[in-house]
Symmetry: C2
Amino acid sequence: MKSFEFYSPTKVIFGKGIENQVGKEIKAWGGTKVMLHFGGKSAKKSGLLDRIERSLQEAGIEYISLGGVVPNPRLSLVREGIELCRKEKVDFLLAVGGGSVIDSAKAIAMALANSAIDVWDIYAGKAQPVACLPVGVVLTIAASGSETSNSSVITNEEGWLKKGFNDNLTRPKFALMNPELTYSLPTYQTAAGIVDIMMHTIERYFCSKKGNELTDRIAEQVLRNTVRYGKICMEDPGNYKARSEIMWSGSISHNHLTGLGGDPDFSGHAIEHELGGMFDVTHGAGLAAVWCWWARYVVKNDINRFAQYAINVWDCVLDPIDPEITAMEGIKKTEEFFTSLDMPINLSQLGVGKLTDAQIEEMANKCCNFGKRVVGTLKPLKAEDIKKIYHMANN
Amino acid sequence: MKSFEFYSPTKVIFGKGIENQVGKEIKAWGGTKVMLHFGGKSAKKSGLLDRIERSLQEAGIEYISLGGVVPNPRLSLVREGIELCRKEKVDFLLAVGGGSVIDSAKAIAMALANSAIDVWDIYAGKAQPVACLPVGVVLTIAASGSETSNSSVITNEEGWLKKGFNDNLTRPKFALMNPELTYSLPTYQTAAGIVDIMMHTIERYFCSKKGNELTDRIAEQVLRNTVRYGKICMEDPGNYKARSEIMWSGSISHNHLTGLGGDPDFSGHAIEHELGGMFDVTHGAGLAAVWCWWARYVVKNDINRFAQYAINVWDCVLDPIDPEITAMEGIKKTEEFFTSLDMPINLSQLGVGKLTDAQIEEMANKCCNFGKRVVGTLKPLKAEDIKKIYHMANN
């Protein structure tokens, strides 16, 4: 094991009906005035919001509500939330939803605790917050891992810039996880979530700092488990066992346990973020559309590791004469799995149409912050590399 | 995944030389007056205590010292520590050592924060603490997992009672883990640590609430990793990679990640605790001497699970006609591994001599708290059962 820091203080409470404890939990963390943050109408329609409000009332906790969070959560709603919370003197943010809602809540929570900073400056890398209001989560989508992670991603509609920020300050205090709440997810969202979960581990697994055996073995099992139970979720959406395995895999996959000692690559996420920002695609679908092309572009930089992935995750058999054959088999298996989920494996399947050279040029440059950064660790990529990957995916 | 709660807030900082950050870390957690708690002379002789004191001085933190913690840490020293800390107005406990030192520090920390309670009443189950002073750890032994766990075990010399107490209050704030600090451990202690690490996962793996697939897969990999790198630590004590894998396995094995959703059995620990209390044996060695007899006694209650253990941890091949053969093979493989570590696999090898029937009677009764509790979950054991297991191990 190489040097690392592991800090995952979020208290996870997992099981059927667990959302009904939310009032008690917020009280235990000292919250007195809550903003209930959520997405569309499904949380209302399903009765989930009613149950949560009842739990808050029973615990004697005041609350206000702000819905309307959309995938690729918008800066404008974050700003609206900040203003509302300031006015109402909110001291606890409760996110009821998936990654977008949680990320939006994290952004609001940071802004509230750092009043001298403009919230977008945090995401643009121009300001560093020193505190964060407490955030709690009732999770309804297994995908982002944001319920235990230190990360959040916000999209600025001015210029459609999608930017992430990572800091331990933003790790939620608690995550209440009831797998039943994911039964009603649309098939497409379930599938995109499965891809996202896999990518949080895969993009840690492929890196330059190797020799972290326990990390690798746990990562491989998280991936195998996600493939195994992901399939069952697709066929049988109301299967508690499968939904629960996927839900817990989603958290483990992004609380950094599957990356300890390594220097995560995350090129796939960086390449996808530009698609998300420009075309507002579903994050998991965008990842599926680009990852295998990234993998083919970099595979020669670490054939042994790609072969290990193929063997330990996909049960491929090592070709001892030419391990590259095994390595490529692992990439192919991944792609076939995505296809089996009806996820796209290129940009045209993603539905963004054929990109023009000018669009690719713009996205590659944005991705590398106009020459100011290289992307990834397994093979550090410049704009030229990223352009080639977009072209490969643009087939 | 069945219902569970997972809360492991300890910040782990892992790597070479990391103990030199201890002053900075304590400051970040608000400590101003520290009690440095440790065991024997090795920490002094190796220069470790000097480095830690320097780090505290550089951070401007006052400190006092209390050494002398022994394996199966004693209540009398805990009481001495409490008195000293009260007098000196200590607000942070720093444990420099392994499980015994950490457990002793946890006991002191609880007593200091609950002045109306006698510390032994906590362990005797007669009082519930509501707070705990912060505890930090510089780990020097990979074994107990106490550096991230919620548990501590104290031995009361009056009656040689060894009692454990589990509460999230006692989870350390941070654990600084430098694998190099374990290079100089005596072989016997390294081996006992490897057994202890394995047992924290094995005793969670064998339980009655099953169907936690991700938990099981992670548990199996922690065990495989511990076997693989445990062997290397024995042959090559200065092997950084092996020591680091074992050190991290030790924490993962007892922060409850390998038991989520289950109802841990922990019969082996309960059976060993009586040996520890009565004969002051090394914890890991005591576990090695009794576990395989427990396993043989209960194997018929869950042949499939023991067979799964044999297959996934020890690469045994399933006998589809008679899975019990495979199940027994896994127990045998475990025993052979303990023997390869020069660990005892029965009570005479443990060095406690042949136990008399009266001794066994007394220990079995104590273990079941004189009929007030049954032990374990896979097969709940009464005193009669435990007597039989002691007799089997007494061969």
